[in-house]
Each structure stands twice: as structure tokens, then as C-alpha cells.
């Protein structure tokens, strides 16, 4: 979640502070940057504000006419343009972005908003103070964090950095940035900074990469990075340690799977952003996709572990909004857009965000997604962070379904009928995010206890799937999606596919009915293709029945047509973190 402290958010009209973002997330009504009353129908339990560390608060200071900043000719010019509004503000935004991208911002101005300056430290102390003000253990937790926004030739390597700790430790450092000489765009330097934080403060910290789909193949390297660095054991162990999670779904597209990589998966084509890299300067080609999507990353991890003895991509799956509006909205029917200029209006879904190789990336492609669910022991910073570290988390694309996944060797068919499913799951097996326990003598295959309950005020469930990836003896990776539980009287067809659940969406009125689907689904599933010699992972994907997309709600509200090409409905989903098997397990 970004607030007006982020340069790009401020440029796009966000005038809402971190305090407003917290108030909104915990359920209060606020007024949006463009004057709409905004409120969540159901509050969130916790929030991470992760503003871009590079240039943090610079735009706000320019707008406020901060004398330190106005002393710079560039800043004074931009401040004047932004304050004038209208075309002058648009021209200013374009000029500012162009100047930043070209690295032509006055070096002393950059230094003022970089580690080492008093202003940078003061801003960070404000970030911490706001988090502290709104942290109410047991009711609403605020985790202190920032975004380390590395971009390599326009290719996205962003990481959200989150601390377990409060002000005593967080204030002993300032965020790392990506602009040399104070910062670095190399993730290995970020991990060094994180290690230093832990050693210096005794605290704990993690980083979550996101938008591999805009990295043009460099998010999950298989053997060599973009700069020629060859992956080694240290890279694998450091990445696994500091990056236990991957943000799989958010406003800039879903990154679980891609039809090119998973041609047999009819649900892989979901809310994709696959035209190019983040800034649209390079068109994407198919050979880049394997280095971008979560499922393929998990598979590459198995292959690297087979080669180096350590798995750099042993990550759990989460979702976030990445909204730049200070408004954490992930629901299709209450979507406030990525940027403040995308707040609800008849125009917001009918323009091109940018062109990539001549192809427009349209504003209707913004995705109203997602949320992170953590199986935390209590609603506190520490418990939420600990659940993230052990990867006992799952992603949703917005709805609040409940998902459980346990893997083990001793489950019995009646276990799924227990009302104490988690108790049995922990007793006999391991939860999502774990390694399977050692295979007992004579055990033929692992079983998975998987259970999903629909969002109480949301849509019924279509099906539950188990996604398996594995590494064969020749070092090749494979994947298979199994339908394991589904609603209605459907049967698997000859090709192994389950017929569609149907679609009740009333496009004109932007509504649907729960006359199809099931309110809960669960099963005990045993891997029919298990080979004890092969490394593997298993995660659950839970699909809702089709519901209206945010563009359909907008069309209904504003009495306009949905944009050409935009789906009128979608099947929201949840992704559990995987459970891994290794021959040594």
C-alpha cells in the first residue's frame, strides 16, 4: 500500500497520508483524494504501508513549498507546475518522470531524500510514528515497512520490506534505496542490508518480491542473473532466508501462472499483464515468461535445489493491492483503482495506461486484487510476521475465503469430516508453507487435507484444485493441476477435465446468484502419481463461481458500456502456500 509519501502516488494525485490509509483500512470512512467518500464494508485486520524509499515524501514537500526543496531550481519549477494544476500539472508530471528516468535530477536534491540526510531520517521517523499510532495489538496491526523499488533497464525487481519490530529497532536504521551511491538496485545488496539490520538491532526482517510479470524474465533466474552473475549456494540460501514469500496477485496483474507455460491449465489466463516490462520500454517475448510466474519459479527452485543443494524459490504465496491511493481496496464492487486518477468515474476504464510496442495497456486491465491471509496465533505484528516467516499464509484475489491445507502420510478419509480439521491437520501432518515430514517406511504416497469455505458474504465455490510441480530424474520440471473437490453433480470427462460450473452473472445489473457452486468444499487427496525419488511441491487453488468484474460494476453504475476486450465476469481465487516434498523428507 502506497500513500502520498510515494513519488509516483503523489504525482498521480494522491493527497492522503499514511494516517488516512490506516484509518481507511481499519474501517473508517475517509474522503478520497478526488473527494469521494470511501469506506470498506469490512475492515482489514492489518496493513503494511510500503512507500517507495527512493524520493520518499519529495512530492509532498514540493507541494507544501518546503523551503529546503524550493531552493533547488528544478524543484521550484515542478512545485509551481503542480500547484497550478490542469495541463501545467500534467506537463510537470511528464517532465518529472522523464527527468527521474534519465537520472538528471539535481544530485544534491537526490541526496536530500537519500540515506545520510536529516530529512530522510525525519521522514522515516514519521513513518514509524504513524505505524505506532495506529497499531492496536489484538484489533488492528500495522507492520513497519517500505518498498525497495529496484528497476533494471525498466525490468521490475521490486521488493516490499517488512519488519517484525517496533520503533526501538526500526528507528536504528533508515530504509535502503536503489539509487547509487547511497543505494543499490542489486537484491544481493538488499539482503546484506537486511542482514545488517538484524545484526545491529536484534530484530527480524523479510522482503517480498512482486510483479515478476513485469520483470521480462529476470525475477526467477535459473542459472544466471541479468548481469552475468551465476547462481550459487549462497545466493540460494540468502534468497530463501530473506524472501520467504512471493506476492502472486495485485493490481498490476496476476502472477500465478501463464497459458504459455501451462497450456493444459484452462484457468491460467487470469488478469494477465504480459505485454512488456514495467516501464513499457521492452516488449515481452515467450522465452521470458518462465522467469516471471510463481508456479514456474517454484519449479525452477526444485531444479536449482537439485543442482546446488539449496532452493532459492521456496516461497509462500500472498496477495496485495499495491494501491497507490492510500485506499486498500481489493473488491470488485469497491475498487478505487491503482492511482488516485483511477478513482471511480465514467472515464477511468477507457484510456490507455501506456503503449508497449504499439499495443495499448488499457486502464480496464487494472486488477481489483488482492489480500493476504495469515494463520497467525493472534492479531499482532509479531504473530503476523511469524506466520509469514513460516509461510502459513495464502493469497486471495480479493474475496475472503478460508483455506486450509495440510500434508501428511497418516491421514484417513474420515478426517475431512472432522469439525476440528486444523487439530487433525497439525497432529498428523504439516500446514501450508512446510516440508512434509520424513516418509515413513512403507508409505506409498502423501495425502493432503484441503478445505475451503466461501467468503461469508461472497460467492459460492466452484472447485478446489491441487497444483503439483516436480523434478524428474533427468532434471526436468513438470506440473499438473488436479481437480480434487467440486460443487454439483459434475464428473470428470474423458480428458480428465471437469465441466464448467456455469455462470449466473447478470451483466446489465452487475450481480450474480449463488444458485450454483458450494459454500464449502474439502477432501482428502492422495497423489496418484507420486514417485518417492522426485522432489515436488503441492499447493491448493480455490476457485469461486463467476462474479462481475469491477468494470461491469462501473458500467452499471455509470450507465456506460464495458470496454471492448474486458471480461464481464471473472472467477476469483485463492492460492495457498505450497507444501514441499524432498527425497530426504
Amino acid at each position: 500500500m502506497h500513500t502520498n509519501l510515494s513519488t509516483d502516488a503523489g504525482l498521480a494525485g494522491n493527497r492522503l497520508s499514511p494516517a488516512t490509509a490506516y484509518r481507511f483500512a481499519r474501517g473508517e470512512e475517509v474522503t478520497s483524494s478526488f473527494g469521494h467518500p470511501a469506506r470498506l464494508s469490512r475492515p482489514l485486520d492489518w496493513l503494511v504501508i510500503a512507500d517507495h524509499s527512493d524520493g520518499i515524501s519529495m512530492i509532498g514537500d514540493m507541494l507544501a513549498g518546503d523551503p529546503d526543496v524550493m531552493a533547488f531550481e528544478q524543484a521550484a519549477k515542478w512545485s509551481k507546475g503542480m500547484t497550478e494544476g490542469g495541463q501545467a500539472a500534467i506537463d510537470t508530471k511528464n517532465d518529472l518522470v522523464k527527468t527521474f528516468s534519465a537520472g538528471k535530477v539535481e544530485p544534491h536534491l537526490v541526496a536530500m531524500y537519500s540515506p545520510g540526510s536529516r530529512k530522510f531520517k525525519r521522514v522515516w521517523e514519521g513513518v514509524i510514528a504513524d505505524a505506532e499510532d495506529y497499531n492496536e495489538p489484538g484489533r488492528f496491526s500495522t507492520l513497519i515497512g517500505f518498498e525497495w523499488t529496484a528497476l533494471v533497464n525498466g525490468n521490475n525487481l521490486h521488493r516490499v520490506v517488512i519488519m517484525r519490530d517496533g520503533p526501538m529497532r526500526a528507528s536504528q536504521v533508515v530504509p535502503m534505496t536503489t539509487t547509487p551511491p547511497q543505494g543499490s538496485p542489486d537484491p544481493r545488496d538488499l539482503w546484506k542490508w537486511m542482514k545488517n539490520y538484524e545484526e545491529k538491532t536484534g530484530g527480524e526482517i523479510l522482503a517480498i518480491p512482486h510483479n515478476g510479470n513485469l520483470s521480462n524474465g529476470i525475477m526467477f533466474p535459473l542459472a544466471e542473473r541479468w548481469d552475468g552473475f551465476k547462481l550459487d549456494e549462497a545466493y540460494a540460501t540468502d534468497r530463501a532466508r530473506y524472501e520467504p514469500l512471493y506476492e502472486t496477485t495485485q493490481v498490476k496483474g496476476d502472477g500465478e501462472s501463464h497459458p504459455y507455460l501451462s497450456p493444459d491449465d484452462e484457468f491460467a489466463d487470469f488478469e494477465l499483464w504480459d505485454l512488456g516490462n514495467l516501464d513499457g520500454t521492452e516488449v515481452k517475448t515467450n522465452n521470458m515468461l518462465a522467469g516471471e510466474y510463481a508456479r514456474e519459479g517454484l519449479k525452477r527452485g526444485l531444479a536449482i535445489e537439485g543442482r546446488l543443494g539449496a532452493n532459492p524459490y521456496k516461497f509462500g504465496l500472498i496477495g496485495s493491492t499495491d494501491s497507490h491511493t492510500s485506499l486498500a481496496t481489493a473488491g470488485e464492487d469497491n475498487f478505487f483503482g491503482k492511482n488516485s486518477v483511477d478513482e471511480p468515474s465514467p472515464e477511468r476504464m477507457s484510456y490507455a495506461l501506456k503503449k508497449v510496442g504499439g499495443t495499448p495497456l488499457n486502464s480496464w486491465q487494472n486488477s481489483a486484487s488482492g489480500l493476504t491471509a495469515v494463520w497467525a496465533t493472534e492479531n499482532t505484528r509479531e504473530a503476523i510476521f511469524d506466520a509469514m516467516l513460516r509461510k502459513e499464509v495464502y493469497a486471495t484475489t480479493g474475496p475472503r475465503m478460508t483455506v486450509r491445507l495440510f500434508g501428511g502420510w497418516d491421514f484417513e478419509p474420515q478426517d475431512i469430516n472432522s469439525r476440528l480439521l486444523a487439530r487433525i491437520g497439525y497432529e498428523k501432518g504439516v500446514p501450508m508453507g512446510s516440508d512434509l515430514r520424513r516418509r515413513p517406511e512403507g508409505a506409498s504416497a502423501p495425502s493432503f487435507l484441503v478445505y475451503a469455505l466461501r467468503d461469508p458474504v461472497g460467492a459460492n465455490l466452484d472447485r478446489v484444485q491441487i497444483v503439483k510441480g516436480w523434478l524428474d530424474k533427468d532434471g526436468k520440471t513438470h506440473e499438473k493441476v488436479y481437480d480434487v473437490a467440486w460443487s454439483g453433480e459434475r464428473s470428470l470427462e474423458k480428458d480428465g477435465k471437469l465441466p464448467s460450473v456455469g455462470n449466473t452473472v447478470d451483466v446489465v445489473n452487475a450481480t450474480w446468484s449463488n444458485t450454483i457452486g458450494a459454500s464449502e468444499l474439502g477432501t482428502l487427496w492422495t497423489d496418484p502419481d507420486f514417485d518417492p525419488a522426485e522432489r515436488a511441491f503441492y499447493y491448493a487453488r480455490v476457485l469461486e463461481i463467476p462474479t462481475p468484474r469491477w468494470t461491469t460494476y462501473d458500467a452499471h453504475r455509470f450507465g456506460i458500456d464495458t470496454p471492448e476486450g474486458a471480461p464481464t465476469s471473472l472467477q476469483e481465487r485463492a492460492y495457498s502456500s505450497p507444501i514441499w516434498y524432498g527425497p530426504q523428507s
Partner: protein, 59 residues
């Protein structure tokens, strides 16, 4: 939501073998859990049972 796990925690602590209970208050390490599991007297995830959350926490 906050009370339920605490009640379970107390119940579990009382019913747990004393050697295991001594470890309470410490973060369970995988080593300890594996060691505990080997004798199969009680669950390796007894500590986790003490922490059963009723619902996911959303953010």
C-alpha cells in the same frame, strides 16, 4: 478470537508431559519437534495445537 487460543493453550499445557511443557514459552524449533515425534508418545505439533487460530487474519 483472542481468547479461544489462550484457553486451548492452557488446556494443552496442563495435559502435556512435563518434559515437553518445560519447553513452553520458547519458540518450538524443528529439531525439538522432530525429536519429540520420534518416540510417538505425543504430537510433534502439540505446541501448534496450543496456538490454533480460529480464523485467518486478513490484510
Amino acid at each position: 478470537m483472542r481468547i479461544a487460543p489462550l484457553v486451548i493453550a492452557i488446556t494443552t499445557l496442563v495435559s502435556m508431559p512435563s518434559a515437553f511443557a518445560q519447553e513452553m514459552g520458547e519458540t518450538p524449533s524443528e529439531t525439538m519437534l522432530s525429536k519429540t515425534y520420534q518416540n510417538k508418545t505425543y504430537s510433534p505439533y502439540a505446541l501448534r495445537l496450543a496456538q490454533l487460530p480460529p480464523n485467518p487474519t486478513l490484510g
